[in-house]
Symmetry: C2
Subunit: 274 residues, 2 copies
């Protein structure tokens, strides 16, 4: 692991209040994937939270510090110390911290797909924070604690009013006939950088969806900018009982390979070929 | 300022996800006020988040480290490092950090009351976290950023569905005739220790309330376990325009003096006497 100063003072507002943002970036031989999308989300977060943004040059230096091969760069930007209680200081001095860790993609999940379940926890609706990768992630932690079965790889989250939103650390995509869809994220959820890159390249519609529609979709995928896209082959309810199963098809591979290309991963073979 | 090791590693889950809890405790000559209430809320938080709780003996040692006179002890308990992403480690090793800072109560606000406003931000509804003093406090930070006028001391927060909940760092109390009331906190908000101690001693009803009822109440107060209780003498809307004003009465002093007694502060003189 490579990192800069890997500590923060107790009075840092990132610790005290989760007053900050983070990004998790795939890096290959020092070259970051989807970097413009990560930078754009971070700067959007700075603007919405009122945290002074680091310069592009400062950010651009970080992935270059990563070692050779495949790495994950995690960067954390906090508002720094100071202020009176919740009131931020008039001129914040943000702290930017980072670390790089070697990474290996899960080729089995790419190839064979994964089993997921619905989580019981409902995401709170907070438009002021929706889409951001901020440091207030207790909901994700609580949702991920709902199951320990190692065969279940991810959990789906719906919001307080019953709309499907995301998985604990991935975005959700499905197709119904020819129609590719993903949940709208204006109310809650993290707007993933891979999701954004795919939205700009493919005819994917952002929709409000009842999670029960997933039982009837033709294909279901989860994805993020580090792992790429995993097809879902089984969906369980909150108790682990099967709601739906899917056979892998070339339709699954199409969306996956769009992501593989964006992330610099190899093209996947057709679904019927092992 | 006195503290223990005042840093945390970058991979601490308290920083990464706000995966932890805190308490802010009034201490006089090493003796904590409302200590049993602070410990109870912390242990309730540990139980609900699944964080191993520190022993009572470990906690009891902290306020004794405070210097002489009036101090505020801030303690932070995080789930520590480790786990895979949002999934906590099977056996977490929590980190307990603390610092003590000299404190002086605001006698002017006790005596003369304060001006408050409604905040535009709506608190998200999340029963899984309601009541806890956890480290996910971006909503409070954003709400506190809504005004900079130094004459306005606190901001009132309603939830996503329009119910009055709390102020940015205080609980809310009011009376209508003989009836003392405070918002229910099952959906969001922090269950203050002073609020809890008052609920156990006085006939205060927990209610769901539309914030507009405040324009008609006989008295309005804000309070927490460090500052005690401040009467509200003027309430503004989200733009700073006056909605209601109150003259201080002995009714205000009654609730205030219950808090003064609980916190070891001096009894306040009648409202008409300066």
């Amino acid at each position: 692991m490579v990192s800069d100063d890997a500590t923060l003072p107790l009075d840092d507002r990132g610790l005290a209040y989760g007053d900050g943002l983070f990004e998790t970036v795939l890096v290959y031989d020092g070259r970051p994937r989807l970097w413009d999308y990560h930078v754009a989300r971070l700067l959007d977060g700075c603007q919405r939270l009122g945290i002074p943004a680091p310069s592009r040059a400062t950010l651009d230096r970080l992935p270059r510090q990563a070692g050779p091969g495949l790495q994950v760069l995690k960067l954390v930007l906090t508002r720094g110390s100071g202020g009176r209680g919740y009131l931020p200081p008039q001129t914040a001095e943000p702290r930017l911290r980072w670390q790089c860790t070697p990474f290996a993609a899960n080729e089995r999940h790419w190839r064979d797909g994964i089993r997921v379940r619905h989580c019981a926890l409902r995401l709170a609706i907070q438009p002021a924070l929706a889409g951001l990768k901020h440091l207030n992630r207790l909901e994700n932690v609580l949702a991920r604690r709902e199951w320990s079965d190692p065969e279940t790889i991810e959990g789906l989250l719906s919001d307080h009013e019953g709309r499907l939103v995301e998985a604990t650390c991935m975005n959700v995509f499905w197709c119904r006939g020819e129609r590719l869809e993903t949940p709208r994220l204006e109310r809650c959820g993290v707007a993933g950088t891979l999701r954004q890159a795919l939205l700009e390249r493919l005819p994917i519609s952002e929709v409000d969806a009842d999670p029960r529609i997933l039982n009837e979709v033709d294909a279901l995928w989860l994805g993020n900018s580090v792992q790429g896209i995993w097809p879902v082959i089984r969906l369980d309810d909150t108790e682990g009982c099967c709601l739906a199963e899917w056979k892998l098809t070339d339709r699954h591979r199409e969306l996956q390979n769009s992501a593989q290309q964006l992330l610099g991963y190899p093209v996947l073979p057709p679904a019927g070929v092992s």
